[in-house]
């Protein structure tokens, strides 16, 4: 790999790295398949944590590919920073757009719910129960 390692060591490093990436991928797939497992059906929290773990493992894979395979770990620090720091701008992109997407979904759900509201039949016309959903129709 880099000059600081002997040729033999760096060769071994590649296969070790490959094994690591493959193992992490297998773990990710198994965690992902939890969703389909019968026993996990009612454990929303478990699936939620499994998803977080999958994301963390993917980020680790990304770090490993950049720092070892792409040699970023052996470049001058300033070079690494000029390439890596701009990607942190994306964090805001994710926060903003995912929230926006969530807001679109809520908007649609509101419309669907209102479409399903029923007008009270004959006897109830003119009588509005303040606790009833109908009061939101406006």
């Amino acid at each position: 790999m880099a000059q600081h390692l002997s040729y033999e060591d760096s060769k071994r490093g590649v296969w070790k790295g490959l094994g690591l990436l493959a193992a992490v991928t297998v773990i990710e797939v198994m965690l992902s398949l939890l969703k389909a497992a019968e026993f996990a059906e009612n454990l929303r929290l478990l699936i939620y944590f499994a998803s977080l773990l999958i994301i963390a493992l993917s980020l680790y894979k990304a770090y490993f590919i950049i720092y070892e395979f792409m040699h970023m770990g052996y470049e001058v620090k300033a070079l690494a920073m000029t390439v890596l720091l701009p990607t942190f701008l994306l964090l805001w992109g994710m926060i903003a757009f995912f929230n926006e997407g969530d807001a679109w979904r809520k908007g649609r759900e509101k419309i669907i719910n209102k479409n399903e509201l029923k007008v009270p039949d004959g006897g109830e016309v003119g009588y509005i129960d303040r606790t009833d959903e109908i009061m939101f129709v406006g």
Binding site: S32, I55, L79, V83, P86, F97, D102, R105
Partner: protein, 336 residues
């Protein structure tokens, strides 16, 4: 016209550097690396932003949908009917995991090519680059099969997504009589809408002996709907005749609603083909450039440069980046 200032460094006429060597950037390289590698890094940074834009759009649209197809259900087929060996003929994520391995291994062989280049070992460079090309080509072949299966057999396109997901619990209606059955509909479960009269390579109720045969004529039947009826009652011969089963859901307050299996979010198909296609395009480009550099390396072009096969290093950076992007495509499309 500029005046001569005493802060200017006066260079004797015979000491002035040649214009041509000025363009080489001098002896002090920025960040102690070559311009070629530096510019490859910045190209990759810009490309990362392009992919990030796509993936953030994917996230926004996924968050905006009431349901999203479960990848375990969508990506459960394999070539040569290998999925038949799995329970229910479903091999969730197996094929795409194999594709990931191909790409990861080709990344490893690329590192080996760069190492051999640093030792000026031409034969080693050619051998390991050849293996890298094979890995990349294998990945593309797998993706070609995956797309063919999705489009040709499962009828998913950029505008149609037959993978729907239930958002409420309920019970199916019997397709023949329209009576309530005890066959359950579960929230979060993904189904594939079948096309009337077509086999989908799945061991489902559609292919079992003595199973109910769905009508192939468009219309509204007691327990299902077949697509293709225009609002005025005439048949649209060009429409794909998707079968939508009917089911009944019950709310907590006792109200019951009849529902029809809907198509899944359209954005799923468009995003899937758009993003994996853009990634596949990068892989294809990478394979072409790997081949060019492989041939040059074999022809001794880089040996003559005496710079430790720096060109191999640069294409290596690109190739690892393709693998890096796949980590995220794999994450959002298949794992989550």
């Amino acid at each position: 016209m500029t005046e001569e200032r005493d802060t200017d460094i006066i260079i004797a006429a015979d000491q002035k550097p040649e214009l041509t060597s000025d363009w080489a950037g001098g002896d002090r390289k920025p960040f102690r690396t070559s311009y070629g590698k530096l510019m490859m890094w910045y190209f990759l940074l810009s490309d990362a932003f392009t992919f990030a834009g796509f993936l953030i759009a994917y996230g926004a649209l996924r968050f905006s949908s009431a349901s999203w197809p479960v990848p375990d259900r969508v990506f459960a087929t394999m070539p040569f009917g290998i999925n038949e060996m799995f329970p229910n003929a479903q091999a969730p994520l197996m094929f795409v995991t194999f594709m990931s391995f191909l790409l990861i291994v080709s990344s490893g062989t690329m590192v080996r090519a760069v190492q051999e280049g640093a030792r000026e070992n031409k034969r080693g460079v050619v051998l390991w680059m050849l293996l890298t090309v094979l890995g990349g080509a294998g990945f593309l072949a797998c993706q070609a099969w995956e797309w063919t299966n999705l489009i040709g057999k499962e009828n998913m396109t950029v505008t149609t997504n037959p993978f729907g997901t239930y958002t409420e619990d309920g019970y199916y209606l019997d397709p023949e009589t329209g009576e309530l059955t005890d066959e359950e509909v579960a929230t979060g479960e993904t189904y594939l809408l079948h096309v009337a009269g077509e086999a989908h390579g799945e061991a489902e109720e559609f292919e079992e002996e003595g199973a109910y045969q769905y009508a192939t004529t468009p219309g509204d039947y007691p327990g299902y709907v077949v697509d293709g009826l225009r609002p005025d009652g005439t048949i649209n011969p060009a429409a794909k005749r998707f079968i939508h089963r009917k089911y009944v859901v019950e709310r907590e307050n006792g109200d019951t609603y009849e529902r029809v299996q809907e198509f899944g979010p359209t954005a799923f198909g468009a995003l899937f083909f758009g993003i994996t296609g853009f990634h596949g395009f990068h892989v294809a480009t990478g394979v072409i450039f790997l081949l060019i550099i492989l041939i040059n390396a074999g022809g001794g072009v880089y040996a003559a440069r005496m710079n430790g096969y720096e060109m191999v290093e640069k294409i290596g950076l690109y190739w690892h980046f393709v693998d890096l992007v796949w980590v995220f495509v794999f994450l959002v499309f298949y794992l989550l």
